[in-house]
Point group: C2
Chain length 250, copies 2
């Protein structure tokens, strides 16, 4: 499942509010789905608190391992917004006020409204490129393979549109979902393992869900080669057709 | 914000389906909120794919750093369910079929229905305790400070109820939310930083949200000491009362 056209990414979500449960993260699901669609494989995601050492350590681990790292959160004007400084420290580069961002802010704020707090949002690591923010103007930024975006989902989403345009993309992952139609996982598990072994160009997963007291299983075949995915799908369907449904879910 | 009553935890979500965006994780938000309520501080969360080396590396990093690690996903009957083996490898202990689980399964399945796939669900690392599963019976397990739970949210949630009973809990985090009432972050950011510095026993965050074209900011004061949280809240409210609302969000 890897090769010359594989592009990988990791997501780093920054914020105490996510780890306390106060805010439910919506960015990981959005980014993973988006990147998968354009052929970038998300291999890992981490959520860390607003603590510089934690952000630096996670960022350095992830940026060494993946083509891209996308961060969300911590780029606003308040004291708990420490992402820019943490990214600067991770790269060992100074962080300073960017005149391009000040100019963007002056389109929105009068000079007297440009409080020290707001000026914090203009601080980026030296050498960073900006990531456009059509909603509230203050941009995210990119340094090397790290994309730093807002935490507010609607703003993050517009930044992501812009950011992805600058990324190399791989062959998109194809995904076929097959409803198991009442056949429990425990009945098809062995046969599915055989099919998975016989179709090494694909990745096959089985996902039970439980709703209103009933289980429903889905089998998902993923891969980057059309014919390989189609062949595995056919094998799964033939296997399921040979089995009987059952009230037991697993 | 730490002390003798601080109990920490990390969450490890295991599954390709989360990293492809196919399934939107609902467990992190649930677990963080639950543990925060009982006084356990979640300090980190990671999402890793169904790859043994990745699971082992993440688990060993997290279990060394935190009082507890809670994992979700990968304990079903299919070939992509490799959590038990990965946990065993992380601890360096053998993984084998547990007669207690086989007995539980025989309450649900006839002996002929106990397929090899289903028997996979009885495999746990040597020395593990079981975590009850009232919904589909097959348990999760605990080894040392690691709690291994199902990925299906409703099952995970009942396992969590059971698991938390065996954890030491700390002093619950108190949380006060103050609506900024239209005052932009960029206006109160400097004053809020001063308040945060003056109330070191609390952690103060500012969270903008954006909906239907409008921003709404909330300031959250967190801490474990009643009086300290109340004092910081009063200071924030007095600060906001001295400011005027504004249409700019940040």
């Amino acid at each position: 499942m890897s090769g010359p056209t594989t592009v990988t990414a990791a997501i780093l979500v920054i914020g105490d509010e996510i780890l306390s449960g106060r805010t439910k993260d919506k960015n990981i699901g959005y980014i993973t789905e988006y990147l998968t669609r354009v052929g970038i494989d998300v291999r890992e995601a981490r959520i860390v608190p607003d603590v510089e050492e934690e952000i630096v350590a996670a960022l350095n681990a992830l940026r060494a391992r993946h083509d891209y790292v996308l961060t969300t959160g911590g780029i606003g004007p308040t004291h708990d917004d420490i992402t820019a400084d943490s990214v600067g420290r991770a790269f060992g580069v100074p962080v300073g006020e960017d005149p391009r961002i000040i100019a963007l802010m002056l389109e929105r704020y009068s000079p007297t409204d440009l409080t020290p707090a707001r000026r914090r949002m203009a601080r980026v690591p030296q050498g960073a490129d900006l990531i456009e923010n059509p909603i509230s103007r203050v941009p995210g930024f990119r340094i090397d393979n790290v994309y730093v975006m807002a935490g507010v989902p609607s703003i993050m989403q517009t930044m992501l549109d812009f950011a992805v345009k600058t990324m190399k993309t791989g062959v998109a992952m194809l995904m076929e979902t097959i409803e198991a139609g009442g056949v429990p996982e425990g009945r098809y598990g062995d046969a599915l393992a055989t099919i998975a072994a016989e179709h090494p160009e694909t990745s096959i997963g089985s996902y039970p869900s439980f709703k209103d007291g009933r289980f429903a299983n889905q089998i998902v075949v993923r891969g980057k080669d059309d014919a390989a995915v189609a062949a595995a799908k056919t094998a799964v369907e033939a296997m399921l057709a040979s089995m009987t449904a059952d009230l037991k879910p697993l």
